[in-house]
């Protein structure tokens, strides 16, 4: 390649491709998980992730280290909402109610019996998935980012652009709803 006028270009393109392979490709499973939960559709998830990856490649030069999974998932999240705004305008309405959701008073304390934990542990996957799918969008994305994608509070807060305390309260609310449903408790009035 010595002396080839575009040798430098080739090299940097190769570096970008290498970085893409290192930063993006290992986390496609996580990307699909997030897109699947945000769009609630497996087939759509692939389209969304593909769009996200196109953006990720375009911006790969700007990836400045840190958690590559969080970086990719941020792009996937944006792509998911862009996609839903385009394809399912009606389903995104809930995002406007975020403030209301955050203000919702916490669920009533439950009696502290341990059989509930056993019920939750035994819940089958279909029931867990259905319960997650029924969560309000803001709660769902928070619990998915934490419990399925494994991001830290700090990473989730940065991604959602909210204080860490908000992440914590949404997470607690989301899990409270899931535990209520899966633990067989009566829905709080």
């Amino acid at each position: 390649m010595a002396g080839a006028p575009d040798g430098g270009t080739v090299l940097s393109e190769k570096m970008l491709a290498t970085r893409f392979a290192e930063v993006v490709l290992p986390h496609l499973g996580d990307a699909l998980s997030l897109a699947r939960w945000l769009t609630v559709n497996q087939a759509d998830a692939e389209d969304v992730v593909q769009e996200a990856c196109l953006k990720a490649y375009a911006g790969i030069a700007g990836f400045a280290g840190g958690n590559p999974r969080a970086w990719l998932l941020t792009i996937v999240r944006n792509a998911s909402y862009t996609w839903m705004a385009r394809n399912r305008p009606r389903s995104v309405v809930a995002v406007g109610d975020l403030a209301d959701l955050d203000d919702v008073s916490p669920p009533p304390d439950s009696d502290a019996d341990s059989p509930e934990a056993a019920l939750i542990a035994k819940a089958n996957s279909a029931a867990v998935e259905a319960a997650i799918a029924r969560l309000p969008q803001a709660f769902r994305e928070t619990v998915v980012l934490r419990d399925i994608n494994g991001l830290s509070y700090r990473e989730i807060a940065a991604m959602l652009g909210v204080p860490q305390g908000t992440v914590m309260s949404r997470l607690a609310r989301a899990r409270g709803l899931l535990m209520t449903e899966l633990g067989g408790r009566h829905e709080p009035a």
Binding site: M1, G3, A4, P5, D6, T9, V10, E13, K14, L16, A17, F20, A21, V24, L25, L28, G29, L32, S33, R36, Q42, A45, E46, V49, Q50, C53, L54, Y57, P106, D109, A112, D113, S114, E116, A117, A118, I120, A121, A123, S125, V128, E129, I132, V143, R146, D147, I148, S152, Y153, Q164, G165, M168, S169, L171, A172, R175, L178, M179, L182, G183
Partner: protein
């Protein structure tokens, strides 16, 4: 460091019961440092309700963690990996005005998915069968194979096929990425002192991707790689020596599961190989030969 500090007591934990529940979540999530975790565990030991909340959370996390994850199919992985590769080619085109329409390159972004498969060991190369790789080999020293027994020609074809297959599995099918023959030819000349005509036939549907060096029977020889629609086309070839027999009529062959076309023009003996349909390969050969005749200067060796 507790992430949520309101009205700290001696143990630094919040007094508010709801905030205290957040600390339980934080503990389950591994967000607490050792000191805070210890304090929360002490609170839990003294408060059955907190302990029960903790047990429910652990159970819930287990249930969510056991959910089936969407699998990343080979096809999808290849599609995503292709993004980097195709952009690679597209960007090169963008800085080289001599090339064909960028629109066509853009249009190939999705269609190129099989190429990327070579990044992954688990991927069956046969799934890349949609790629046509047309490789023209100019073998300066391979006269032994070209001129003697028929099985000599066969073994050369097998070597071409093996090189082609290897290129599909490599990180990139070309050593020099360029759609500009004025870049490809000097590069090949500098490397091995010989270069074939390298017309870019993008307007005919065969875009020049670049070149590489093939080594067949101890001899390095230049190879060109073309792309046909969503297919890769690779072409390998060798300078003829005096005793090499002329083969003006293209000869259809096959080797290693690929289709080949072999012919000679002037100074070169060409081997075109691909897993494309025979008509597409024949069409490529016809257009390539026509392009060389139209611009013979581009075809002189060295």
């Amino acid at each position: 460091m507790s992430p949520h500090e309101t009205s700290p007591r001696e143990d630094g934990l919040p007094q508010d019961p709801q905030d205290m529940k957040l600390m339980i979540h934080a503990l389950v999530d591994g967000e607490l440092d050792a000191a805070a975790a210890l304090a929360v565990e002490r609170r839990m030991a003294a408060d059955p309700e907190l302990a029960a909340e903790h047990a429910r959370l652990v159970a819930l996390r287990g249930a969510v963690a056991n959910l089936p994850r969407p699998s990343v199919s080979d096809d999808f992985l290849a599609r995503i990996a292709a993004i980097a590769e195709v952009k690679d080619a597209g960007d090169t085109v963008a800085v080289q005005p001599a090339t064909a329409e960028p629109q066509q390159q853009q249009g190939n972004v999705i269609a190129m998915r099989p190429r990327a498969a070579r990044w992954f060991n688990s991927f069956d190369w046969r799934q890349m069968a949609a790629s046509i790789a047309l490789t023209a080999v100019l073998a300066s020293g391979a006269t032994q194979w070209l001129t003697t027994a028929d099985n000599g020609s066969d073994s050369f074809a097998v070597a071409v096929a093996n090189g082609h297959r290897r290129s599909l599995l490599a990180a990139t099918p070309v050593d020099i990425v360029s759609s500009d023959r004025h870049t490809v030819k000097p590069w090949l000349d500098g490397r091995i002192g010989v270069s074939p005509a390298a017309p870019d036939m993008a307007k005919d549907g065969y875009a020049l991707l670049g070149g590489r060096v093939e080594v067949i029977g101890d001899r390095p020889m230049p190879a060109l790689v073309y792309r046909h629609h969503e297919h890769l086309i690779t072409l390998v070839a060798a300078p003829r020596q005096n005793e090499a027999k002329s083969m003006p009529v293209a000869d259809d062959l096959s080797a290693g599961g690929f289709l080949l076309v072999h012919w000679t023009d002037d100074a070169f003996s060409y081997w075109a190989i691909s897993d494309a349909e025979r008509p597409a390969l024949d069409d490529f050969v016809a257009r390539f030969r026509a392009a060389i005749i139209a611009n013979p200067a581009a075809g002189s060796p060295g």
